[in-house]
Symmetry: C2
Subunit: 157 residues, 2 copies
Amino acid sequence: MSGGVEWALHCCVVLTAADRPVSALRLAQLHDVSATYLAKQLQALSRAGLVHSAQGQAGGYVLTRSASEVTVLDVVEAVDGARPAFVCTEIRQRGPLATPREACTAPCAISRAMSAADEAWRAALRDVSIADLAHTVNSDYDRDVLGAIRGWLAPAS
Amino acid sequence: MSGGVEWALHCCVVLTAADRPVSALRLAQLHDVSATYLAKQLQALSRAGLVHSAQGQAGGYVLTRSASEVTVLDVVEAVDGARPAFVCTEIRQRGPLATPREACTAPCAISRAMSAADEAWRAALRDVSIADLAHTVNSDYDRDVLGAIRGWLAPAS
């Protein structure tokens, strides 16, 4: 898994606290990370339709739907793609005892075991929404973390 | 996940069919793959204690314990290590609103969600043994696949 997933998830949680679009620069400042690097993750989220980039002086990123409808899996797949970690190369079709190609209509036992594990992983990530994460972040500490972020993000009046 | 995992799993299933040690060369011939490459995976299995390398003219690899006691997870971890795919870099401790280090006694919400998914993946892989795979391989096709392998591996009499 790429490091970008962690950054993208943190950005999504931060966006739940914002009441207006947040620029990539501001998100980068909040996280003390290169804006160029963070922009790459935000663009991946944008391509996947999870965030929308509003243009203009008050522009920036907003979640395109309720945080309860964005799962951790959505973010992982936006950044790293949906390709499973295990890719079957049909070893059973090799060598002197090769299974004939026409007999390989279903995935082999090894491939099925890997797919089942991959699905268990995805199901667990699908089971947690960005709203769940935001709620947990706020209950983990003795302070209103997201409230503090909201205040920090608000433009000086 | 490295491609070596798939080769290592196939080798373990083949070893359940053998009634004597099988050399890396013979396993490589059966799979039509480079013996050098396969030896690397077999060495990983050996380091993890899953196979034993018998020396001598009739030497080769044998499973060190019953195939029902070797899980797919054992093989995956032998080849790729046990390190989770997601590594938390403590992003919460960065920037102007950093959570103080001393408040970070437990993993953050994002890290916990990732760990739960990782554990679900491992549990699914732990739930399938090499014996299960061998049994499924044999019931998947209209022929005795492992019996044919056993015959092919047996030295000419």
